[in-house]
């Protein structure tokens, strides 16, 4: 077992644990904190996959923005979200069964796939993947159009969120 494998196993266990805790905690603030841990673990996995840029973005966007946003939302909707009552709905048992079967089926299916045991090819020395990613995103031969569409999507989401969440003065 190499050091990398050790790091991976540790990180995986951390992710699965905090994921499980996040799903099952009654207190949503706690759940959000476990989410942060799980997301951080994913960032570590990205590092293991030689995707340093994505790891940084994971930390910045998910933990820095999304998770914090969740916590704000939890605070704002406080009152019944703090764990006094049941946090799971009526058919949570069925949901657990289904999710477990789903994950099991996926793992079985992946196990049948021949490429699943492939080893990672070595990346060329001195290769700057961040630079390549930046170039690919803005090059006409690459992903400039999805990139621009994503920016429009973000703008639309920004405006939509504003409109939806704004207090309705006329609703009186």
């Amino acid at each position: 077992m190499t050091a990398e494998q050790g790091v991976f196993i540790f990180t995986s266990l951390l992710i699965m644990f905090s994921g499980y805790m996040m799903v099952t905690r009654q207190n949503l603030v706690h759940a959000a904190l476990y989410l942060v841990v799980a997301l951080f673990g994913v960032a570590v996995v990205f590092v293991l996959l030689d995707a340093g840029f994505l790891a940084v973005v994971q930390v910045l966007v998910y933990i820095g923005a999304i998770a914090i946003l969740m916590i704000f939302a939890v605070m704002l909707t406080r009152g019944n979200a703090t764990g006094e009552q049941e946090s799971m709905n009526a058919f949570s048992g069925w949901a657990l069964l289904l999710a477990a079967l789903f994950a099991f089926a996926l793992i079985v299916m992946l196990g049948q796939w021949q490429d699943v045991t492939a080893q990672a090819p070595a990346l060329a020395a001195g290769r700057d993947t961040v630079k390549e990613l930046g170039a690919a995103l803005v090059s006409p031969d690459g992903y400039v159009i999805p990139f621009e569409v994503a920016s429009v999507l973000l703008l639309a989401a920004l405006i939509g969120a504003l409109v939806v969440a704004r207090p309705q003065k006329t609703a009186k």
Binding site: A51, I66, M70, S92, L133, A161
Partner: protein, 102 residues
């Protein structure tokens, strides 16, 4: 070295956890958290396939970036909806938000 399968199994497990959260959580914000987990599982898959199968071009990472963008947008709108609903009905419990029915 870590085989590809390990990453895929991790992603599958994470996806199952997220699915469970989405299906079973009462709280709407909890559901959104589950969605985030599922998206992360997908992202792990995408980046792992890029690293192991097609490291030559950057499409895997580019897709991951797109997923980030979509996730950010989804969370922004989703949370706005939750807050809006909470203002009107004083609840964020998904099984109480059942106006859309017969």
């Amino acid at each position: 070295m870590i085989p590809l399968s390990w990453f895929l199994y991790l992603a599958a497990g994470l996806f199952g956890l997220g699915l469970y959260g989405v299906l079973a959580r009462k709280n709407a914000i909890g559901i959104l958290m589950g969605v985030e987990l599922m998206l992360n599982a997908v992202n792990i898959n995408i980046v792992a396939f890029w690293r192991y199968l097609t490291p030559g071009n950057m499409s895997g990472q580019a897709f991951a970036v797109m997923v980030f963008a979509v996730a950010a947008a989804e969370v922004a709108v989703g949370l706005a909806l939750v807050i809006s609903i909470y203002r009107r009905r004083k609840t964020v419990s998904a099984d109480e938000i059942n106006l859309m029915k017969w």
